[in-house]
Subunit: 220 residues, 2 copies
DNA sequence: ATTTAAAGTTAGATAAACAAAACTTTTTAT
DNA sequence: ATAAAAAGTTTTGTTTATCTAACTTTAAAT
């Protein structure tokens, strides 16, 4: 049986290895992400390696082995199903769900997860636009482009966010940026990379930092 | 913030102090109930006393102080609401819910509990017939008589069970003994205290041990 | 009333998860 | 190519929750 802590390490390793172009994951970065010291990560990696959950050599890159990835998928599946449940059935807003889902994702009951999935109508995406892994651990395709990478003049749709923090989510909700919002990217300022956009008809300026954390797709 | 372990101790102390006529609760009994050694209970009590959750002196009786009782009530409320949720919304049977509820009862989110209560229509009893404490920690009245204490000839209704274990619940479900089942207590055998009963029309023998764990009320 | 049994406590140890400080390896910059 | 910086590891130590073994107190039995 895996502990909650182990599950959190595996999930973090998974998340940090997605969405990066070959850059290696090290103990410092993982420690920062988990809010623990690099020393703690070093010793935990020894344990996770013994259990054959991760691939790791001293001073080397950290990545998941098959079994570790399966556990990460299962935890992420639970996290995203619970987030969906909280929004759909419990009247939570998308900035309130992460913290509670961090707790609920560690509940151990296969039946509960299956029933949750059924109750929600087998959703494919969670309230942040992230895909929900299937019961077999398959993930149906991830996001690609963030708003900051798009060209001026494009008509876009918000399909997800890269950041789950309440403050970020509250900020963009204020701007009108929620899942399925339509955006016209009018122009980009050379000065600081901020963007002049039209969101659901309203004119707005958004910082590059915000744009980097919003996933979009083209409107055909 | 209280840990899950502390909450489990407070809940156990609460449960063991209900349903007993003045008999004092000691470390051995508590240890047995929690599945830990008496030594562990001794040291944990020191901590719970420091936090002013329990009243306790060396070699003396264990009981809850106001704050400890409030926490116990809150945990029991969550436990029973989750059990109700699992049966009402997730198609669990009453013998499957205890184990999962033991995990869910420690989730920390006021909003989640309130919404759960609302979603379920503010239930007064859980699937085992136990009363659900209100948000202010009030419990609306407990069970009184178990089936083994009733007189022969009486027409009774099952209102609850004293034991949550899967094996017990599966056994009595087999007998037809579920919440609201109607029972006619026909006679009691002097030999071993077992009972001759008619359950929903069917004739059955049930052991004294079983009868001690079924709460009943008179049908008026 | 004394012995024995039951109940309870204390002391010493362990495992999990963490941190600080000291040390080592790798990478970067000049 | 070497020094400095960054990244990573090891050692030592802490906290929480647990155990076993040894000891003490209280209750029961003769």
């Amino acid at each position: 049986m895996t502990t909650s802590t182990e599950e959190n390490y595996l999930k973090a390793i998974y998340n940090l290895n997605v969405d990066r172009d070959g850059k290696e994951l090290g103990t410092n970065e993982l420690a920062g992400h988990l809010g623990v010291s690099p020393a703690t990560v070093s010793s935990m990696l020894k344990k996770l390696k013994e259990k054959a959950f991760v691939s790791y050599e001293k001073y080397g890159a950290i990545s998941l082995l098959q079994e570790g990835e399966a556990i990460a998928h299962a935890v992420i599946r639970k996290h995203r199903l619970w987030e969906t449940f909280l929004v759909e059935k419990m009247d939570f807003t998308w900035d309130e769900i992460h913290e509670v889902a961090e707790q609920l994702e560690h509940i151990k009951s296969k039946k509960l997860v299956d029933q949750l999935d059924k109750l929600l109508g087998y959703p494919k995406f969670d309230p942040h636009g992230d895909p929900i892994p299937t019961a077999n651990g398959e993930i149906r395709g991830m996001h690609k482009t963030t708003l900051d990478q798009e060209l001026a003049g494009k008509q876009l749709k918000v399909v997800g966010v890269k950041n789950d923090s309440p403050t970020f989510l509250q900020h963009i909700t204020q701007l009108g940026l929620v899942i399925n919002s339509e955006i016209l990217l009018k122009s980009r300022l050379e000065f600081d990379g901020s963007l002049d956009v039209e969101i659901e008809g309203k004119d707005q300026m958004i910082s590059q930092k915000v744009a980097e954390n919003v996933y979009v797709s083209n409107i055909i």
